[in-house]
């Protein structure tokens, strides 16, 4: 057996769990591959995801393993293939679709908000709608205003959807697997700037479940910082800086935007008495507004300062590099905000 063959043989035993240091991109591919092996009713559709492995290589190798009928290149027709996912789901399949840039969710908004999100409800619960919509969003790559949004705010207010936001390879892997097994539509917002970041993930783990709320990534007793997607890394970096000055910040990854469970965040604030949220979205109508509102309702007496929301400015994302960088919340800004509240 050559080394390659040995690797291939090992890969075919999905239940053998091993903690591996992998990239966010590899975590996505691994989750897709394992779930597609596990359930022959799964298939994935998207633009250029077949032989070419996807514009962001998030489907690398799937076409070779599962073939053209389960790894389907689609026309440039987001309404068409996202709508088709509903037809597949209603008739016994578990479709996954890739939206090349989250910005393009706008093109199929009706299918998601009016058809996919409501069909199970309108049928009185008599149909299942196991659909995963993966959308790659996020700023920092100089892609300009139409290719840089995370699109977190867009579908936040739509009952009937679950929305998850993986911020590291482990979550990208575990949450995507759980999403594929879910009988409800799940929107997975992935971040382009995270694709090459590395981390440990329990590859091969079969016992996965959809998280029911946010996750504490770093404990601390002086302030609570809540962030999503690429902002989680910025918040962790801010906590590192603050630690040098003896300030222990607790960093919470919101990870599930819908249904949003704020109680664990309120619990944290009851201990730290300070709340800062960091969101890569314009300020109006974002998840952090809900987090702040709920924390104020649930833990008002425990707050030592007004909660602070760090967001993008209320504009589309600019192209010019230093302007784009100035839009994106930095660890320095997060740390300074925390200190200003202490």
């Amino acid at each position: 057996m050559t080394a390659n063959e040995k690797m291939a043989a090992a890969e075919l035993k999905p239940l053998q769990m091993a903690i591996q240091e992998i990239t966010y991109r590899e975590a996505i591919v691994a989750a897709l591959r394992e779930e597609m092996r596990r359930d022959p009713k799964t298939l994935i559709m998207g633009e250029d995801i077949g032989a070419s492995g996807g514009p962001f290589k998030t489907c690398q190798g799937l076409y070779e393993e599962f073939g053209a009928s389960r790894v389907r290149d689609t026309p440039i027709a987001e309404t068409g293939f996202v709508g088709a996912a509903l037809g597949l789901a209603l008739t016994g399949y578990r479709p996954i679709v890739e939206i090349m840039f989250a910005d393009f969710l706008g093109v199929c908004f009706d299918q998601i908000a009016n058809s996919i999100a409501k069909h199970r409800f309108m049928s009185g619960g008599r149909v299942k709608t196991p659909i995963v919509i993966r959308a790659l969003g996020g700023a920092g790559l100089r892609f300009g205003a139409q290719h840089s949004q995370t699109a977190e705010s867009w579908l936040l207010s739509v009952p009937g959807l679950k929305i998850i936001c993986p911020s590291n390879p482990e979550q990208a892997y575990l949450m995507l697997k759980a999403a594929i097994r879910d009988d409800n539509p799940v929107l997975v917002l992935e971040h382009k700037a995270l694709l090459s970041t590395k981390g440990a993930a329990p590859i091969g783990l079969d016992d996965v479940a959809m998280p029911t709320g946010p996750r504490v990534l770093r404990p601390g007793r002086h302030a609570t910082i809540v962030a999503s997607l690429a902002m989680v890394g910025k918040a962790l970096a801010a906590a590192d800086r603050l630690a040098l000055e003896g300030i222990e910040a607790e960093v919470i990854d919101v990870q599930v935007l819908r249904p949003l469970n704020v109680s664990p965040i309120s619990d944290s604030v009851r201990r730290t008495n300070i709340l800062v949220t960091v969101e890569e979205q314009a300020p109006t109508g974002g998840w952090s507004s809900d987090v702040v509102a709920d924390v104020v309702s649930q833990a008002f007496d425990f707050l030592d300062a007004p909660p602070a929301r760090i967001t993008l400015p209320d504009h589309p994302l600019p192209y010019s590099p230093h302007l784009e960088d100035s839009f994106i919340p930095s660890p320095e800004r997060i740390a300074a905000t925390v200190k200003s509240l202490l």
Partner: protein
């Protein structure tokens, strides 16, 4: 008014010739049942049992009845807010249909869907779409499902003439054609989208022109001739089952009533309405079966009376059903 459609499918396709006498009578009874159902919906509305709005299909019964006759139980059907006829033609339980329109717990969707969203997966009724054109991509997905499953099922998608101007229509036809999916697109061209005549919104009246630009097989059908509809559908379905790809059937028809409950349809010329009423699909077909000696006038009257009392009894039972409770009936089944 139907010169271009008249005789088209019937002459070109022998499919209707294969129907037994029983099948032919059954088609009439389906159309009568749909007509009587819609009339009862109107009465029940006046009694305060039906809420909101409804979009009745009186005058268009031949399309849903004719197409349904060409289908197997395991085929998939999607339709619009004007979808009572499709549901009944596929065998939806009358009481479940009324209970849904009445918003009761025993409704086809537990009272959560209503007139515009009748769904019944057990009869392959995958959904009614209230957003114009939205059902077409979903039907394409059901067609892909059928192709992958390899059991020679087809997916049939009903929509109106207004839907051909929305993007979803184009995306769906294109995907169905490039993937050669077993999808039958059935356009019920009733000449109006809400209150607008088709030529006010679309540059031509024959919508097969549009489908042909996707290199799709098309057929112009007299939608008020149930046997012509059946023949066209049977042909398209047989081809699709045989991996022959999708088809587009344009059924020329006319709604007898307004667009929805509140529409008196004053925008239609009386002469036009009168001409179409003379071509009422139900009267035409009833006369045809009587002339052929398959049934007598009194048989036909009996069918109508039986249908009327069946819908009345179903509506009465539905009206006695309990209201749904979100907690018990629903939350247990779906997530929040």
């Amino acid at each position: 008014m139907n010169e271009r459609a008249a005789g088209n499918a019937r002459a070109s396709d022998g499919a209707a010739a294969a129907l037994t006498d029983e099948d032919r009578i059954d088609l009439l009874r389906t159309m009568i049942m749909i007509r009587e159902f819609e009339e009862q919906v109107q009465r029940s509305y006046l009694e305060g049992l039906v809420h909101g709005t409804t979009h009745l299909c009186n005058g268009q019964e031949a399309v849903c009845a004719g197409v349904a006759k060409a289908l197997r139980d395991d085929d998939y059907v999607s339709y619009t807010y004007r979808g009572h006829g499709q549901c009944l033609a596929r065998g939806m339980d009358l009481e479940a249909a009324f209970a849904e329109l009445f918003g009761r717990a025993t409704g086809a969707c537990g009272g959560l869907g209503g007139s515009m969203h009748l769904t019944d997966i057990d009869h392959g009724l995958i959904g009614a779409f209230g957003i114009v054109g939205a059902g077409l991509p979903v039907a394409v997905g059901a067609g892909l499902s059928a192709q992958l499953a390899g059991r020679k099922q087809v997916s049939v998608c009903f929509f109106g003439d207004g839907a051909v101007n929305i993007g979803a229509f184009h995306e769906a036809l294109n995907i169905a054609q490039v993937w050669r999916l077993p999808v039958i697109f059935v356009c019920e061209n009733n000449l109006y989208g809400e209150f607008s005549h088709i030529l006010h919104t679309t540059p031509y009246e024959d919508l097969v022109i549009r489908a042909a630009s996707y290199a799709m097989r098309t057929e112009l059908v007299d939608g008020n001739d149930v046997l012509a509809v059946y023949a066209a559908a049977a042909g398209a379905v047989a081809r699709a089952r045989d991996n022959g790809g999708p088809a587009f059937l344009e059924c020329k028809t006319y709604r007898h009533r307004g667009h929805s409950r509140t529409d008196p349809a004053k925008y239609r010329a009386p002469a036009e309405v009168e001409a179409w009423l003379k071509r009422d699909p139900l009267s035409l077909y009833r006369a045809e079966l009587c002339a052929a000696g398959l049934i007598s006038e009194s048989d036909a009257d009996r069918f109508t009376i039986e249908a009327r009392s069946a819908v009345k009894a179903a509506a009465d039972r539905a009206a006695a059903a309990p209201w749904p409770s979100l907690k018990q009936d629903f939350m247990a089944k779906t997530f929040v």
